[in-house]
């Protein structure tokens, strides 16, 4: 059914033919009850097809059969990052990630590590503003064991003391090491609180100090209940597997995971432009190397905007005097420069020009140079030669990703989660092929309008208000 509904959406003749062929292949698969195959295909030429399913409980599953090595990888990604938190309970998402490695109702404390290392595997996890991801790599023959192990913690986590309080200590310790004892991060936390006030990006993923210290067991259990649900999760499996068998095993272990993600009132991911445009959020800390960012808020969260940003960076770097960073270094304007789109946030994806400066350099000169070069880059034509270079670079990067199964799975995971589509390679080619100079200019002028930009940064001592005072002043306001 899904196969045919997808077909109706396709207008391109070639795509129609490809999809029809794929659907014929779908028909041969024997799927578990309630599971459906959404699509199949390969994002990068010469790599195996990936299969995208949906289980009856709403969990999405992508399987990449790849037999180049006996290694397998499993990644489970949830829309349960720190933007799910509320003021007062910040840090829960990250804290929960820690708890997922401890006790479950059906296994003792230490079970996860013991089994994982016993089969020769490795595990890890990461929490961000917009997601949490659990990853493990292990020998393919251990798939049954790993699926059982992974599903237990998603279905039966036991959030109890003393593990809860011990783990809270770990988070407090991590916070101390990563942020409180690092002047740059310490300053950035203060700046972020002011620059992103009222949005889910106001606090760090690790959470505010007081919130972490006061976090209750009930808060944690509620977070698990509300957001650790199958319809809020995507499972990615790669390795030497038969797709049908692997899907059946996934369904056997995760198919009875139940629950529905809690809907939350929609919050603005960005502050209104009128509040931030032209503002400077800068304070000083005991650092030698300063960091400054020019933030250009954007409502455009499309894949296209991400590709366009990379094209702009290429245009900025393509210069007889060297790349943008090289030019800035030579002119003693900055020690580092790059430009990116914040693709790791689903709802707020500002464009960012990022600078590192030494004590002797000043941001005004660096940003003036950036805007001058930006105008020049946007006015330069997108010639066939430029397109050829861009396509070459894409081809090289695809070749890099294609080398490893784990890189391919990570590639699928990223694009599925943020764009709901893994066939981004073809999209990239199409965007480059059809791009005109006028479109590029128009996009660039709108995206990088200096009128709407604001600055965040941490300087060396004496060049701005000390961050401690900045925080006090902000609180008084």
């Amino acid at each position: 059914m899904i196969c045919s509904s997808k077909l109706r959406l396709l207008t391109d003749g070639l795509a129609l033919l490809t999809a029809a062929f794929s659907c014929a292949a779908f028909a041969a698969l024997n799927l578990p009850a309630g599971a459906s195959l959404i699509t199949t295909g390969s994002a990068i030429e010469g790599t195996p097809n990936v299969y995208k399913f949906k289980l009856a409980n709403g969990m999405k599953v992508l399987i990449l059969p790849d037999s180049r090595n006996p290694l397998a990888t499993l990644r489970i990604k949830l829309d349960a990052g720190s933007n799910r938190e509320k003021p007062g309970t910040t840090g829960l998402a990250h804290f929960f990630e820690h708890m997922m490695f401890r006790k479950t109702q059906v296994s003792t404390e230490g079970h996860y590590d013991r089994i994982l290392s016993g089969v020769g595997g490795r595990g890890n996890a990461a929490t961000s503003t917009d997601y949490v991801v659990y990853e493990s790599s292990f020998p393919g023959p251990a798939l049954d064991k790993l699926l059982e192990l992974e599903s237990q913690r998603f279905k039966f986590l036991d959030v109890q003391d003393p593990y809860y309080t011990t783990e809270k200590g770990a988070v407090i310790s991590e916070r101390r090491l990563r942020y409180e004892n690092d002047p740059l991060q310490r300053g950035m936390e203060i700046i972020r609180k002011e620059a992103y006030k009222g949005t889910p990006y106001e606090w760090l993923t690790i959470g505010k100090k007081q919130d972490v210290e006061l976090m209750s067991l009930e808060d944690a259990r509620a977070f698990y209940r509300d957001f650790y649900t199958p319809d809020n999760a995507q499972l990615f499996l790669g390795g030497p597997f038969n797709v049908e068998t692997a899907l059946r095993k996934i369904n056997d272990t995760f198919g009875d995971w139940s629950g529905t993600v809690k809907s939350q009132p929609k919050r603005n991911a960005d502050r209104p432009e009128s509040e931030t445009a032209g503002r400077k959020y800068v304070c000083s800390e005991s650092v030698f190397e300063e960091q400054h960012s020019l933030i250009f808020p954007s409502n455009d969260n499309s894949f296209r905007s991400s590709v366009m940003t990379q094209i702009l960076l290429q245009r900025l770097n393509d210069h007889p005097d060297g790349t943008m960073q090289r030019r800035m270094t030579k002119q003693k304007l900055a020690t580092y420069f790059t430009l990116y789109k914040t693709t790791w946030q689903k709802n707020s994806q500002p464009y960012v020009a990022w600078f590192k400066l030494n004590k002797q350099q000043n941001f005004a000169s660096a940003s003036e140079y950036f805007f001058k070069e930006l105008r020049t880059a946007l006015n330069r034509p997108i010639t066939p030669e430029v397109k050829k270079i861009l396509l070459k670079q894409q081809e090289v990067e695809e070749a890099e990703v294609a080398q490893k199964m784990t890189s391919l799975v990570e590639f699928y995971e990223w694009n599925e989660f943020f764009y709901g589509d893994f066939k981004v390679s073809a999209q990239t080619k199409k965007i480059i092929d059809t791009l005109t100079s006028r479109e590029f200019q128009s996009w660039g002028r709108q995206a990088f309008s200096d009128i709407k930009a604001f600055q965040i940064g941490v300087t060396a001592p004496g060049k701005a208000t000390p961050c401690v005072e900045f925080e006090k002043n902000s609180a008084q306001k």
């Binding site: 079970h111 490795r122 200590g169 270094t329 990116y340 894409q394 990223w414």
Partner: protein
Amino acid sequence: MKVFNMLVIQKHFNNTKRLRSLSRLASPCLFIAASFSLPGFAQSTGSSGALANQRPAVMSKPVPLNWRSITWPSLNYNRFAVDGGAALYSIFAETGKKIRLDLLFESGVYSIPRTLRTNLSATVDMFLQGGAGSRNYEELQKYLVDNGIQVSTSTTSVGQFLISIEALSPDFPLAMATLEDMMLRPRFDRDALEIWKMEQFDSFQGLLDGGNARKQTRFIEQEAMRLTFGPEHYFSQSLARNSKPELDKVSQEKIRQIAGQLINRAGLNAVLSGNINTKHEQTVLQLLRKLPRLTPVTYSWLPERLKRTENNKLRMTIIRKPDLSQATLTLRYYLPNIGKLNRVERTRMTILREVFSSSGGVIGNDRFSKAMRSDSGISYGPYASFDPEAIEPNTNVGVWRMNFQSPNERLIEAVKLATKTWQTFANRGITQEELDNARTSRINTTLATEQTVFDKVDEFLDDLQARALPNSLGIESALVRLEQEKNLAAVNDLLFSQIKAGTTPVLVMMGYPNDATIKELRALENVEVSKVVDFEDLVKELSDGGPK
């Protein structure tokens, strides 16, 4: 991600054979890699706080997987001798679109006078950054990016000069032309050298604020080296190499002189790999024949060996940095008389290491992680390793390294626990159950290895550096060796004999212990606090060019 700072420490301390980071030109991360700029908020493996947490024993035993059912492809290669002492190895792989060429020169750190070490670093970088042939650096950079060619120049951990180049198969001729320019027509432009110096000095000054765990680790490492080998030792002076006085000694003339010694056909090993054909092999051979044939390389110096002392006390350096609420520590037991381990001994050490600090798991069920984190809640990310070749290329010294954190207020407890955990291990060895579990775990880990042809080339280069040719049954041989390790007494006896031959224990911490804590540390049994130094003083000393 698992404990960011520990990863840094691991990377820094591990016995990696190859260092490829000194200078690299690559096509910028565009469409794919940009998407992978993960923000990196990490899962921790450590904890702190007051609550002790005793974990119940888990009785399930690891089950060995059937590795014999897997067909492990043998590595196949061709070898071509080149007159003048060079050799080309070619390794074909039909999967993948890329070709890579590595040129491992015999000359490097130890064939150039030690006094020219910073000049050597500059030379290695300036093969790229100084321009080549008709192109200055900026033109070269653009050319490489436009054609999707990646080039890196570096020195390996045993000091050999290495050039690596990668390109898509159709672009390989362009890559080869660039390589020829770099080796036969390097420019070493003076203005580019000034920019290099500026960048190095910026980086050096950035290090001096000691603002994060990565930077702090560099200082801890330096002090550990001073404590172990003495302040004049080569390993103790790596930070000072980029100080202003050292950078001022770098000149274009010296770079040209060093470059003339590095590019030498005598002793050169080239490895061509990927989607290659006979034509590619011939192109590389032609290039190798064009390289000058100089006198065969001899090493003019090597890092001094570790002198055994009769003092078995744990010598300690304390670096005080007032803004740190948590200390980072390294505890090391050097084994000056370990000798060169044979294959059986290496396998046994792998098992011992796995029991003491396993590579799997997240929270940690190995001895060290369990003690420092899971049960005590002291350390955020404990990590331990064994390195049988602590001072390559002199291979007679091994080291057990333990890295961990502790809140300032729990430092005494942390030091006592870490030393006690190691001593229990060193004195009593491991149990039969630990041996069986670790053996199974290590065998299974082999099945969780992802290897591309280029990973295999990395191993191949390691073998070439060790003056050995690869074993075509490398994986299977290692697995069989592991399977045979069932005799507990034999494994423990190896550990005991190494310890009995003498250890040199050292500990360095950077944090802000108060006077009472320092006094208590001094009073610990068998501990000698050798130095208490303020971070600011270390910075000042380094700014002036290092210890005088």
